[in-house]
Symmetry: C2
Subunit: 125 residues, 2 copies
Amino acid sequence: MRIGELGRRAGVSTRTLRHYEELGLLEARRRANGYRDYDERDLAVVAEIRSLVDLGFALEETRPFVECLRAGHPTGASCAGSRAVQLRKLAEVDEWLARLHAVRRELVAQLADPPAPRCHFSEEN
Amino acid sequence: MRIGELGRRAGVSTRTLRHYEELGLLEARRRANGYRDYDERDLAVVAEIRSLVDLGFALEETRPFVECLRAGHPTGASCAGSRAVQLRKLAEVDEWLARLHAVRRELVAQLADPPAPRCHFSEEN
DNA sequence: ACTGGCGTTGCCGTCGGGGTGAAGGTTTAG
DNA sequence: CTAAACCTTCACCCCGACGGCAACGCCAGT
């Protein structure tokens, strides 16, 4: 299939597909006329990229998954490299969760502790 | 005090202070020679901005707090406008927490579910 | 008088990430 | 024949919060 169809089926623009190719995430065979030619496995690659990006992975971080898929594995997560990235991501997420919980505690504390509860006039601004 | 001293005491660069002034968050009286002149209340304003920014507030979001402080209130959070921003922020934080929890669940699920557990060779890439 | 260290304004650069747009050309489908 | 789809390359954008530089003015110490 050509780039337009792949874009439609994957839900991304053709511009985006060329962008992935620039990054080396997507490879295209070429027809005699120079047009890119894709197959179902390329669609799987793009789908893998999109689902990972939606989970918060950077494009670069999807590379091991893509290579894993291209190596013929059933899913992009089948390989050790992908696992490593997943573990790193999990650690990042946990770090963020900890920070956000701390921020939340601080916010709730400030809200629960009105600085001038007895002065009705200080609420006017 | 002049801009250098304020920067040192507040722990920010002079560039940052001028930036806050451009945004209208910080106002400076001027000496005869054109130098900016600050007092302790300005230091309090900068401290307020920094603590909010450290909590994840955007500079624009600190404006109500700053105006509240400048209106003579004991803390920047004393005014209704500041409270509103705090509540919005709390909602934002909760939204992020929910999303991150969902991402975390998804990651853990993928990690706990080896796609090809019986095939030792598929781990090699 | 000179030096060094402040201060002033203004404007462009940066960072990161993930693209988007336009120009200008060729190929294909109907 | 024409419009749509494709090709390439180059450049640009978005966002916020500054950083850095130029090119100048002010002032204290020696």
